[in-house]
């Protein structure tokens, strides 16, 4: 019995990471109509910067903040220099361009940090004991809490602030919103930078759980895409629900039969899309 409860809570932690990383894709893909595969560069850089700062200063919090900042900075750079020029191009084009950026990012990581994976120590070593002998590392619980806070913040930003409202209006009718005197480019940039910062944070939080290697973005890319596709384009709530489902598929499925951890999400997405081509919460784009 304990093993299942443990798997479910581990699954929630995986969902947290998946949600943070997928947010950049969800916003880029669903709201701005750009398939930003290079979001995984922010994720990888977030993890690597955390590694570097942690080995220099020993502070994980500083590392995670650094990872977030670097993710945001890279997002700013890429959005203003490249993505802005391709917003109106077809999806296939943006997909291949951003994949090119992703490859460049992997190349830069290889030049700077080398090929061998770097280990990052877990910042909190405590174990929380639940009733019935269930033991969960405190760090996993921290991830769940941070992901929940991130979800609330991003929902507030999208629904309550003027930025979110202008963004959604700008997607529906760009000319009209610009005519009202709103600088829509600036709003796109702000949203994108926020999403990139979350991807960097996801990388920083995931660093102690996985080996930090140049190809870590590749592994995450597919899972993040599955999350976004399964949840449906343009829906942050959908991304959250899909992340919850996939976290359970990975961990509970992996407990039942180990290979399910890697292939389970693909099977889930494959059949979901064949039955419901717009994802769980998606609108038809």
């Amino acid at each position: 019995m304990e093993i299942w409860i443990t798997a479910i809570i581990y699954g929630l932690a995986s969902s947290g990471i998946l949600f943070l990383v997928s947010l950049a894709l969800s916003i880029g893909y669903g709201l701005m109509r750009v398939v930003n595969m290079e979001a995984m560069v922010y994720y990888s850089f977030g993890a690597y910067v955390t590694y570097t700062i942690m080995s220099l200063t020993g502070s994980f919090i500083l590392g995670a903040l650094g990872g977030m900042l670097v993710g945001a900075g890279l997002g700013l750079l890429v959005e203003t220099q490249l993505l802005r020029k391709i917003y109106n191009r077809e999806m296939m084009f943006t997909m291949v361009v951003t994949f090119g950026v992703f490859m460049i990012g992997i190349g830069i990581i290889q030049f700077v940090w080398g090929l061998e994976p770097k280990p990052v120590a877990s910042p909190i070593s405590g174990i929380v004991k639940f009733f019935g002998g269930v033991q969960i590392p405190a760090y996993r619980l921290l991830i769940i809490v941070i992901a929940v806070i991130a979800y609330i913040l991003i929902q507030l930003m999208m629904n309550k602030t003027i930025i979110g409202k202008a963004l959604r209006a700008g997607i529906d009718n760009r000319e009209n919103v610009e005519g009202l005197g709103v600088n829509i480019n600036k709003i796109f940039t702000i949203t994108f930078v926020v999403a990139s910062a979350f991807a960097g944070l996801g990388g920083a939080l995931n660093a102690p759980l996985v080996m930090v290697g140049p190809y870590m973005g590749f592994d995450m890319l597919l899972f993040a895409f599955i999350t976004v596709i399964l949840g449906g384009l343009g829906s942050i709530k959908g991304t959250m629900v899909a992340a919850l489902i996939l976290g359970q598929v990975i961990n509970v499925g992996g407990t039942i039969w180990a290979p399910l951890a890697t292939v389970g999400p693909f099977i889930v997405m494959f059949f979901t899309i064949l039955i419901r081509p717009t994802g769980l919460f998606g609108k038809d784009i």
């Binding site: 997909m95 994949f99 490859m103 099977i267």
Partner: protein
């Protein structure tokens, strides 16, 4: 007149050039064989990308299906090389019959990702599910089981090179025929405007499914040739990370043209060959190159060649005009 001559002579010129290169650089024969096989693979992807407007991140899956069907045939059923290739093509056809009804109703971006998922599932199937048949990660070795073929014993690399060229030549002519036929044009029309094609009374789904089937069959054909070339297969062939190679080769060559895929394969593999001599990891170069190609030469090498030919033609026309004056 000029175009007609080009369409008849083009494939012959390309194959002749390959043979010339083979004798100019005798130690590059494996590279040239790979260019031939890769061209067929890229041609398959070009149908999806250039004619139907679908970008697939899952072409390695189809390649590995072809390679594994040939390999399993050799390892368990017989040694006839031609039969193995036919088996691979038939498996490709059956696979496309199973998948087309689901996949061809999807929008392009969903298609891309479903294919990426297929890739992952494919590696899983060949590595874990069928481990008793495929030996998992160790790969399936079958070089000893291949039987000699009459006339040209293709088990030897130097003969296999000519065999690949022969298949490439046939593929070129068929591809050209498809490009010029009403079917080829209706494929391009569905890419440009599917609603209008439906309105005109064409069955868009059917056109797409046939195009998809041709694409898959070319990929599995290339896969079987890869298997015969190496003498073994392992699940790495179908890995997701290799999907970008074929996309990039298609882009470099020029999307939606008949000869583009060949130049794309040559350009991509040539670049990989050169870069990998002084750099073990070439992601950075591939990334930069992708962006340059997309923004500066979005019609690829074949586009450049056409532009060049156009300039020559225009120059000649100017001359004749001057003479006329």
């Amino acid at each position: 007149m000029n175009k007609k001559l080009l369409s008849i002579l083009g494939p012959v010129i390309i194959v002749a050039l390959m043979i010339v290169f083979r004798y100019l650089f005798p130690n590059k024969i494996t590279f040239l064989t790979e260019v031939g096989i890769f061209s067929i693979y890229v041609m398959g992807n070009n149908i999806l990308m250039g004619y139907l407007g679908y970008t697939s991140f899952g072409q390695p899956f189809y390649l590995s299906v072809g390679a594994y069907s040939a390999a399993i045939f050799f390892a368990y059923f017989g040694g006839n090389i031609f039969l193995a290739i036919i088996v691979a093509i038939v498996v490709g056809l059956l696979l496309s019959l199973v998948l087309a009804p689901g996949l061809m109703r999807l929008k392009s971006s969903y298609f891309t990702l479903i294919n990426a998922a297929l890739c992952m599932i494919g590696v899983f199937i060949f590595e874990r599910l069928l481990i008793d048949v495929t030996n998992g990660n160790d790969g399936l070795w079958f070089r000893g089981n291949m039987a000699a073929t009459p006339l040209l014993d293709v088990r030897y690399p130097k003969n296999f090179f000519f065999f690949v060229l022969l298949i490439l030549l046939i593929a070129f002519y068929l591809y050209q025929k498809m490009d010029k036929s009403a079917f080829g044009i209706s494929m391009k029309a569905t890419k440009a405007n599917p609603e209008k094609m439906t309105f005109l009374g064409y069955n868009v789904f059917k056109i797409r499914s046939i195009g998809y089937a041709i694409s898959i069959m070319m990929s599995t054909l290339a896969g079987s040739l890869y298997a015969i070339n190496f003498g073994f297969v392992n699940p790495n062939l179908g890995e997701n990370t290799r999907a970008i190679e074929v996309l990039l080769a298609t882009l470099i060559g020029g999307v939606g043209s008949v000869f583009g895929p060949f130049f794309g394969a040559l350009g991509f593999l040539g670049m990989k060959d050169i870069v990998s001599t002084f750099m073990t990891r070439w992601e950075f170069v591939v990334g930069v190159l992708t962006i340059i190609v997309l923004f500066k030469f979005n019609r690829g090498i074949w586009g450049l060649i056409e532009d060049g030919a156009g300039l020559v033609q225009r120059g000649r026309n100017k001359k004749t005009v001057k003479v006329g004056e």
